[in-house]
């Protein structure tokens, strides 16, 4: 009798214990946005959103490790986020140069070339933010098979204005949040990264929209990129996995036709819908000019968007063709820039010791545009800030640049130098081009600091233009709607001769020894007058 009471009490307590964690409601939504352009290219953007309702990021002072049970939310990523108490995480792996003039704004703004990782973490607890940043980088490097671990303190900075915290702060007492931002522009993205990325989805690549992600075709695109974005929102923690690709059916058809279909773009169709998805849609932004034929019939359509639903129409192979068009002609004159701001960044100078960084921002609109400009360059370049010049049509305009914040490359405890950070607010007058020039000095690295392919050069991270509040004195001015990235640059550094360590040491030491020996001989030997024999 006592034994049954004890057993039932134990079983009851187990129920109580297991019922204590809050039941997390999870939702999964998929979306594919397709936008054909007038030059024949097709922009595709996959968005896979998993919402973990009721969850919140771990407080770093809180060391309790509760069990994590998720249905749709990926456990590997959840463990990483919980381990390092990350509030907001953004990782993007991109290849190619996003052409803002031709393609407009992307669906997801992180389109800088290479790997870009930034995370907001609450500051507190036994581990410092920097220690958790190191752990986070290495864990993500293992998860995505990318060399994110090399985004070390030589590339990490903290530009909080350009990458603001968009999560709601959830911890009760206001502990400060810290940002860590790092980029590696020479990182490539390939199947090795896509495979673990797809494993984070509930249906993987076997069902739903992810069926279309054939690596051979996605990575053949003119621009392609993967993104992982974690935010803490009002309902809970939101994970957004994105794949964007700018595909070119004209190139695939040998320059003749711009007809495309899922089969021609991805070599796949959506044949199985994802059963756990709360919603699964395909949005097609139809071109303004008629003359195309769309198949199959969309679920709903209006002037600008046609919507398909893979759940109702299976297998789904959306196809757009231009039956009237005999052969595709590139539209001439080239279409006007799609964004109000056109950006260009170059590195001038053929010398390997000095160069000139030149950024040119063109305002295509009728109102002044005010943007924030952020440049984080590794310590390979020395920015000569006293040569910073802002020029509009040949005349220097110092008034158009304000709020200059510059951090020189700090010497860190391990002997490395951090990156130089330059941040400024620029106002570009309407229909004008603003040119910003800055002299750069290039460093001479040690023998061991050069990479194996030293003659290639080093990639410089893209500069970021970010929206800022428009000052009152700018009449009717506006800012850009979202972040823009300039292209990366290739920096050519002078290299020593890598076959020479032994030779250099022996030659230098020989010369020094000869001089040293001669002088000491002169100083220490005795002088004699010698009679010469005939």
């Amino acid at each position: 009798m006592a034994k049954t009471i004890v057993t039932s009490a134990l079983v009851l307590s187990l129920f109580v214990v297991s019922a204590t964690p809050t039941k997390l409601s999870e939702g999964y939504h998929e979306d594919l946005a397709i936008r054909p352009l007038t030059d024949g290219k097709v922009i595709t953007a996959f968005t896979f959103t998993t919402l973990l309702g009721g969850a919140s990021p771990r407080d770093p002072r809180d060391s309790e490790t509760s069990a994590q049970h998720y249905t749709f939310f990926p456990l590997t990523l959840g463990q990483i986020l919980r381990e390092y108490a990350v509030t907001e995480l953004h990782l993007s792996l991109n290849a190619g140069k996003w052409n803002y003039d031709g393609w407009g704004y992307p669906d997801h703004p992180s389109v800088g070339t290479g790997a870009e990782l930034w995370a907001w973490m609450a500051d507190g607890g036994p581990l410092s933010v920097d220690e958790r940043w190191i752990g986070l980088r290495n864990a993500l490097a293992g998860l995505f098979c990318a060399s994110i671990g090399s985004l070390d303190d030589r590339r990490t900075s903290s530009p909080a204005s350009a990458f603001p915290l968009s999560s709601i702060p959830v911890h009760h007492d206001s502990i400060p949040y810290a940002l860590r931002y790092a980029t590696l522009p020479s990182e490539h993205v390939c199947t090795e990264n896509l495979t673990p990325f797809l494993k984070l989805l509930p249906c993987k690549s076997r069902a739903g929209l992810a069926r279309l992600l054939d690596p051979q075709h996605v990575f053949d695109a003119d621009w392609h990129g993967l993104g992982v974005h974690v935010r803490s929102t009002e309902p809970g923690v939101e994970l957004r996995l994105t794949v964007q690709a700018v595909l070119d059916p004209v190139r695939r058809s040998g320059g003749r036709r711009r007809d495309w279909s899922f089969l021609s773009l991805f070599n796949r169709r959506i044949d199985v819908p994802c059963p756990v998805a709360n919603s699964s849609t395909v949005h097609l932004v139809v071109p303004a000019v008629r003359g195309y034929a769309l198949s199959p019939e969309p679920v709903s359509s209006n002037d600008t968007v046609s919507v398909y639903s893979p759940t109702s129409h299976v297998p789904l192979d959306v196809a757009m063709s231009w039956p009237e068009e005999f052969t595709f002609n590139y539209p001439l004159p080239p279409p006007a820039p799609q964004t109000p701001l056109s950006i260009k960044r170059t590195l001038y100078g053929s010398s390997q010791t000095r160069g000139v960084l030149s950024v040119s921002l063109s305002n295509n609109g009728h109102v002044p545009i005010t943007v924030g400009y952020l440049e984080t360059l590794p310590a390979l370049v020395t920015l000569w800030m006293h040569t910073l010049k802002v020029v509009v049509e040949g005349t220097p305009r110092v008034d158009l640049m304000s709020d200059i914040i510059y951090h020189p490359p700090l010497l860190l405890a391990n002997g490395h130098h951090g990156p130089s950070t330059l941040q400024a607010t620029l106002t570009i007058p309407p229909k004008r081009t603003l040119g910003l020039t800055l002299d750069l000095g290039k460093t001479f690295l040690r023998y061991t600091e050069h990479p194996p392919d030293a003659m290639r050069g080093w990639d410089l991270p893209p500069a970021v233009l970010f929206p800022v509040p428009v000052p009152i004195r700018s009449q009717g001015g506006r800012s850009i709607p979202e972040r823009m990235y300039t292209p990366t640059l290739l920096l050519d550094l002078p290299t020593p001769d890598f076959s020479m360590p032994y030779n250099v040491i022996i030659l230098s030491c020989t010369l020094i020894t000869l001089i040293f020996g001669s002088i000491f001989n002169l100083l220490t030997r005795k002088w004699m007058v010698v009679k010469l024999e005939d």
Binding site: Q352, T382, Y406, S420, F444, I505, L511, L522, V529
Partner: protein, 409 residues
């Protein structure tokens, strides 16, 4: 012929050049032969910009000049070429006064005033770095002022100038001992009649204490100027000891430490620094009868083996040769030394341009040119050392030339 009438011509020529804004002259500012990361004008301007914008100039390895430069150029003087021209002229005047003190001319003028001033003002090794606005001009002027005051027997001026020059460039510490010796003896040439050191040791120790006091005052002024932080020690003086910046220069250190593996770096840095220091005592002991010649030889050591060498450092050595005409007959290979110097001076900018500007050569070319420069400096040093010792034995008499020889065993 009294060449002192050339003095106003030289001075006005130098001042005139400060005002001509030739583009080729402003291109000299970035030349690696004429300025190093410790003396470059671009870094001086950058440090002043950072200081003016409330950013610590010593945070990031950009600015390696002394805080004294920061204070002078941000408050009292603007960094204009005229300041460098005036410093050049002051240096030439100091050399002239040393010459007059050595020749015991006093207030009058010797017959060779113009030649001495011309050797200082027109020496391309000193003239071009001054046009390139390299702060090595100020360092050289401070050294010459220290030697000038010491030659004229003014201890306060000499020790203050030496403290300044040590603050601007830490390697000038080597000259402390010869300057102290010079203060307690006479600058007049004793090379031909060497004798034991007759100066007063107690006075010399007193002067050493005075130097330490001046040095500490300047150190305190620099610390106050920079706001109590100690980063400037690591960036300015520490740079000569740890070589953080591997920009090529005509010296022997940069390529050696570029190619050095990290494991051996601290050892060889120690070896190279101690190598500079070990010349002080032997030279001062051997030339205790002529402290000015000892300081001349130590300037030559610095001019070949300093950490961040520019052409201004061997330039000071070559200019000071004019003070010692008594050793000219005993130099064994002056023509060869001159030719090797010309050789090096032509090869260095050529191979530097081939390597970094045109991309056709590689670093080894420039390294070879720096070895030639080192050899030229070494040959000048060895010859000066030999001649300074050989002069004590005089010439063999006319008729006996082929019967006797003066050698070392």
């Amino acid at each position: 012929m009294d060449s002192s009438s050339f003095l106003p011509v030289l001075v006005s020529f130098r001042l005139l050049l400060a005002f001509i804004p030739l583009h080729s002259i402003s291109g000299l500012q970035h030349d690696h032969q004429l300025s190093s990361p410790l003396t470059s004008y671009a870094r001086l301007k950058e440090g002043l910009w950072l200081y003016g914008h409330d950013i610590d100039p010593y945070a990031g390895g950009i600015f390696r000049h002394s805080p004294l430069f920061l204070s002078i150029f941000s408050t009292v003087l603007p960094p204009l070429p005229i300041v460098w021209a005036l410093s050049d002229i002051v240096g030439a005047w100091a050399l002239l006064r040393i010459w007059r003190a050595r020749q015991r001319v006093g207030k009058g003028s010797s017959g060779r005033d113009g030649l001495v001033a011309a050797v200082s003002l027109l020496n391309p090794y000193l003239f071009l770095p001054s046009l390139a606005l390299s702060t090595s001009t100020f360092e050289n002027t401070a050294v010459l002022l220290a030697l000038m005051f010491a030659s004229e027997g003014k201890p306060s001026g000499a020790l203050l100038a030496l403290a300044f020059s040590t603050h601007l460039s830490i390697s000038t510490f080597l000259l402390l001992l010869p300057v102290l010796m010079l203060l307690v003896t006479s600058p007049v040439s004793q090379l031909a009649s060497p004798q034991e050191f007759r100066g007063d040791l107690r006075t010399a120790c007193k002067y050493a204490g005075q130097f330490a006091m001046y040095w500490l005052v300047l150190f305190g002024a620099a610390s106050v100027m920079i706001g109590g932080e100690w980063g400037w020690l690591r960036e300015t003086w520490g740079a000569s000891l740890t070589l953080p910046d591997l920009t090529p220069n005509p010296g022997l250190w940069w390529y050696f430490f570029t190619e050095m593996f990290d494991h051996f770096r601290p050892f060889f840095l120690m070896v190279f620094s101690v190598h500079l220091a070990i010349y002080v005592l032997p030279i001062c002991i051997k030339f205790q009868h002529d402290a000015l010649y000892a300081s001349f030889l130590l300037v030559g050591i610095l001019g070949s083996f300093k950490a961040y060498l520019t052409l201004a450092d061997p330039g000071l050595f070559l200019s000071m040769f004019v003070l010692f005409p008594e050793v000219y007959p005993y130099l064994r290979h002056p023509i060869v030394t001159t030719l090797v110097h010309i050789h090096a001076a032509l090869l260095l900018p050529l191979f530097h341009a081939l390597w970094v500007t045109e991309g056709r050569g590689n670093a080894n070319f420039y390294f070879a040119a720096s070895l030639v420069m080192g050899a030229a400096g070494g040959m000048g040093m060895v010859d000066a050392c030999f001649a300074g010792l050989r002069i004590a034995f005089g010439d063999v008499a006319e008729g006996e030339r082929d019967k006797w020889a003066v050698v070392q065993e």
